[in-house]
Symmetry: C2
Subunit: 423 residues, 2 copies
């Protein structure tokens, strides 16, 4: 009981400092923010040795707990990876300031001039897993957008995350800015997260980054708005009028270039009229590259080596070299399938038929809708945002790949010359 | 127990219908939406008698329960008020379609063309109190923005709200559109609301409209994103360099034109150097109009007839002819006061000093910041939105007066010619 009280007091104190830092942070000008980030990049390079020592503590713990080789790899830092982090911070420093932009301005008949201007959101809590570079990415993006960030990483990367956050704090302190601008939850107690998620008076937004279980838990517990996506069940529909060479390349790329990520294709839909020409070649290519196919009966006629799909294969996120395949009678049925099984993340059509493309674009309500391009492009960097804090399948605030703009809110400025309201 | 199961089943069925209607709704074109709304306006005029009969049932119930005269007035419909409603619906019909707008479009080096296009949010739950015209306003705005609306009005207006929703449903049915596009929660059981607020898989946004207690309850219970403001603790700061004639008119207007609304001023801050000239005249004018003043000692020197302010008078939302007054040593202290006591709704400065205005505009983080204008202008109609579904003091999605644009989300369209990702 005593212990709980201690971390609760500490968490409450941290939140108080965050709220206080939030004002200083929102007033920083673009030049200072860029300078701060460039200093952080230099400091990361300078402190490589210290970072690796702290990372080694996490790796030793992880070994003791028998983490999988994939997880160990995600956790491991080395000189190259730290240089990449520093490069990432410099890139964010070089982006345009998302705050203080007048996005709209108009004059009313009574002479009032109204402007809409972007402002930081305030205090943002980021809850994430394993990869320590998320610490640096999120802190940079929040700093650039004038937001105070409260970082809560996975316990397996505790020491690595802590030293990285401390590097930001060191630079902030040197500039006489509140260190709480980049705050770090320094307990691994899970109750601390539940406590923070109830503090909607202090924290304005929560962004969970990690597996579906983590995200669902955060969304269920939080009283603060959460921006998230649960799953990326991405579809590619090959229309009757598709260019088959392009279709083959897009399908192969969408599934195989990086199967473990949220914008990889999980289900292939093929128009039945084109299935006989399209499926044999792409099927062979996928199977030869080690991809398992799970197909309906109609598709299996053209896919030797494919397994029979079960109902549960549709709408399933494999995150692996496995692909569900289905033949559909036409565009209408493809749209219905996507409505029923999609997760609103990214869905693509391959077609030369402009009319079919228009219908697909209008009817598919996913955060990204692709025409003749790989689903893998659904990504903040690929969209040219220069940064990505996450991908959202929510319907409010930010949708799709979310860069700096998604980390801002706005306010209205109303400038008059003594106007009063008469009705 | 059996009864609960019945309304739960019915609510689940309603949600299923809403989800289904959502697709049809999102695909309606601008012309059809305008026609539907104009038909609703005609139907409201035609059914005046029926509406008044249903309203009479609510009024009879209200009398039995001893509702206050103010509440009775808010509840009462008459021929004129119904005509005004119809006029409001026609006005919404005439607004531009907020859906399908390309808000941004760019080309990437690899030839991909990316567009950001507005889409409806989906299913919106509106929870509101007493005034039946909210039913018509919210249904019109949601229809115009392609959203399915689920209406949950106060029990005291049950019959009035129901007949008004039915008028929308009648028009939808005539057009062979799902009546669930405008859905009505046809039980007054409070548990129904708690049940709905947990259904984040079916409902995308909740907008509570009513008193602070209602809004707090909704925000506390909901697992769905809520857009809201709790309070409007609006400040007007009279700077040392204010034009005193304009200052007097703005203060009088901000407090007295309609004291019971959220954008009315609750606290007046006055620079101490200008207090001797400014306070006596405005104090007299306010008191003579029946306004009670609660002022600090420094202000009371110039305000004969003012009461002594207690600490709790600052940051208090009176919604009445009562005003807290405080003298401050300068702009800096005014800003500090607003940061500490404000509710982030609307705050104003009156000054001829451009520099002071700039600092105020930059540092005050309220959803609307006014310079030389009455706080009463913080309103969707006054901003020229042609509509208002509410005012938000939240930091995500929509902030300040929220019109049709706030009822939309967006998606990205990515158009290529076979691009695949290589890194």
């Amino acid at each position: 009981m005593k212990k709980n009280t201690t971390w609760q007091n500490r968490a409450a104190q941290t939140l108080k400092e965050c709220r206080h830092a939030s004002y200083a942070m929102s007033q920083l000008n673009s030049r200072v923010k860029a300078q701060l980030l460039n200093e952080v990049a230099r400091e990361l390079m300078k402190q490589k040795r210290t970072i690796l020592i702290e990372n080694a503590k996490d790796l030793a713990e992880a070994k003791k707990h028998g983490l999988s080789p994939a997880m160990m790899d995600r956790l491991t830092l080395n000189s190259r990876r730290i240089s990449d982090m520093a490069q990432g911070v410099r890139a964010v420093a070089g982006l345009g300031d998302p705050v203080g932009r007048i996005t709209s301005r108009w004059r009313r008949p009574n002479g009032l001039v109204i402007s809409r201007i972007t402002v930081p959101i305030g205090v943002i809590l980021i809850i994430y897993e394993s990869r320590p570079n998320v610490t640096v990415e999120c802190a940079s993006l929040c700093l650039k957008s004038g937001n105070v960030v409260l970082l809560r990483g996975g316990r397996e990367a505790f020491y690595s995350n802590k030293i990285l956050a401390q590097i930001f704090q060191k630079v902030l302190k040197r500039r006489r800015l509140p260190q709480a601008c980049v705050s770090f939850v320094s307990t691994t107690d899970r109750k601390a997260v539940d406590f923070l998620l109830k503090r909607d008076q202090d924290i304005h937004l929560v962004i969970p980054r990690g597996g579906e279980a983590l995200i669902r838990k955060v969304a269920r517990t939080s009283r603060i708005p959460v921006i998230k996506h649960y799953q990326g069940i991405c579809h590619v529909y090959i229309d009757r009028r598709a260019d088959l060479k392009k279709a083959g390349n897009i399908v192969f790329n969408a599934k195989m270039q990086r199967p473990g990520v949220c914008n990889a294709m999980e289900t292939l839909l093929v128009h039945r009229k084109i299935a006989p020409q399209f499926l044999p070649t792409i099927g062979k290519r996928l199977i030869e590259s080690g991809c398992e196919l799970r197909a309906d009966a109609a598709s299996r006629r053209y896919l030797p080596g494919a397994k029979a799909a079960k109902g549960s294969d549709y709408g399933h996120e494999y995150l692996d070299k496995i692909l569900a395949v289905k033949t559909v009678p036409g565009l209408h049925e493809a749209l219905e399938h996507i409505r029923r099984y999609g997760s609103g993340h990214t869905d693509a059509i391959v077609t030369r038929d402009k009319n079919a493309a228009e219908i697909f674009k209008k009817e598919v309500d996913s955060s990204s809708v692709m025409v003749n391009a790989s689903t893998r492009f659904s990504d903040g960097f690929q969209y040219g945002f220069g940064a990505e804090i996450g991908i959202s399948t929510d319907k409010i605030h930010a949708r799709g790949p979310m860069g700096l703009e998604g980390l801002t809110s706005y306010k209205y400025l109303v400038e008059g010359s003594g106007q009063i309201r008469t009705s």
